[in-house]
Amino acid sequence: MQKIKIQVFGSGCPTCEMLYNRVSKVAKEISPELEVDYITNIRKMVELGAMSSPVFAIDKRIITAGQLPEEEEIKKAIEARLADK
């Protein structure tokens, strides 16, 4: 499986942690090799171009910002990226 970089950016608020847990769960279901980084450095988040937390990004592309996507949506995004590779 190709390596892709899945990231969740958040300030540590409850919604941010919920997103991280959800993305981790979905990623593990797709492949146990996929890893999700949880980044709490807000500066990194702004550098990516987002202004509302939490952010879900794959390979430095923002998938969602400021919302909590459903598992289905997360799964689609990861699989689409994997298919692109």
Partner: protein, 323 residues
């Protein structure tokens, strides 16, 4: 005909037919008030949160920021920033990225603060509650006052040249051009997204609102007419600042307090004092202040809060005089 007539009918039916309550008793009045107002407010909240979520779906804050930095607005940017702040939901976990994002884009500090002041002050839940409890005219006054405080506050902060009180690292952030995966979403997906956000917001506050309407209903039914007027006349001119100071720690329960206030106004609390109290509850919060401390230093933070608090007190006096 009143568009809320069906709720009136339902409240009548439950109060007088289902519960067999005697008309004109205190209990019947409180019960009727609770059913009618809860229904009306919940419907308004659902409606307005959906509208605002839809607006945000097409105009996320990143786009608003890009628009603000796109050209020189010759002062109109303060006004635009407060409007944008009003449609952006305020979550304290987003205030830091918002602040850095604005400053990094080269948007003046004053305009950034105009946004930060208006964002919590004018929000969809407060709007729905105001329309439901106080009607459109008072809601318009509330929104106008919020925008005025945002514009004037931002303008003052800009002209005090306080850039040195922004933490150094904020000026060094450089964002890459935004790359957003935006696949074409179908209508169904848009509706689902919007609805999910709106329902999420509603779910978070529904118990506070119901508790607030419940307490409001008891006041409505059991507290005699003009009860508070006597006390507050004794409080005299310091009624407004006192209300504002009392309000600051109440932040988290804003959605519960607005329905209570409506009943208090009905029983003699001056409207300006009540508005000041509600604005302070919604717009000024200590947790938020402490979060912003990560990006700005004490003097700027103090000036920011001072201006907003003073603005709210002045608005309270103004409304007490003109209403």
């Amino acid at each position: 005909m009143d568009i809320f007539y069906p709720f009136e009918w339902l409240a009548d039916y439950i109060t007088f037919v289902v519960f067999h309550l005697q008309a004109d008793t205190r209990l019947a009045e409180a019960c009727h008030f609770f059913i009618y107002d809860s229904l009306k407010i919940l419907v308004l909240i659902l409606l307005i949160t959906h509208l605002m979520s839809l607006l945000r779906y097409y105009l996320p804050v990143e786009k608003l920021r890009d628009f603000l930095k796109s050209r020189n607005f010759y002062g109109l940017d303060y006004f635009l920033a407060t409007i944008f702040g009003a449609v952006t939901p305020f979550c304290s976990c987003s205030s830091i990225p918002l602040f850095i994002g604005f400053v990094e884009a080269g948007i003046p500090l004053g305009v950034t603060f105009a946004f930060l002041i208006a964002s919590p002050l004018i929000n969809e839940v407060a709007l729905a509650l105001f329309i439901g409890m106080f009607g459109l005219k008072i809601t318009a006054l509330y929104v106008g006052a919020g925008i005025a405080i945002g514009i004037v506050g931002g303008f003052i902060i800009e002209h005090l040249h306080l850039e040195r009180f922004v933490e150094d690292f904020v000026w060094q952030v450089k964002s890459q051009p935004r790359q957003i995966e935006r696949k074409k979403a179908s209508w169904k997906e848009v509706v689902r997204n919007v609805s999910r956000e709106a329902l999420g917001i509603t779910k978070k506050i529904v118990w506070y609102v119901l508790a607030g309407v419940g307490i409001g209903a008891l006041i409505h039914g059991y507290v005699p007419q003009g009860f508070f007027a006597a006390y507050l006349q004794k409080a005299g001119w310091w009624g407004v600042p006192l209300a504002v100071i009392l309000a600051v720690p109440l932040y988290s329960n804003a959605s519960g307090v607005i329905p209570i206030m409506q009943s208090l106004v009905e029983k003699g609390v001056p409207l300006g004092t009540a508005l000041a109290l509600m604005m302070a509850i919604v717009g000024v919060s200590l947790p938020e202040a402490l979060i912003l401390k990560k990006v700005i230093k004490w003097p700027l933070l103090t000036i920011f809060f001072g201006i907003v608090t003073l603005g709210i007190i002045l608005i309270g006096y103004l409304f007490n005089v003109i209403l």
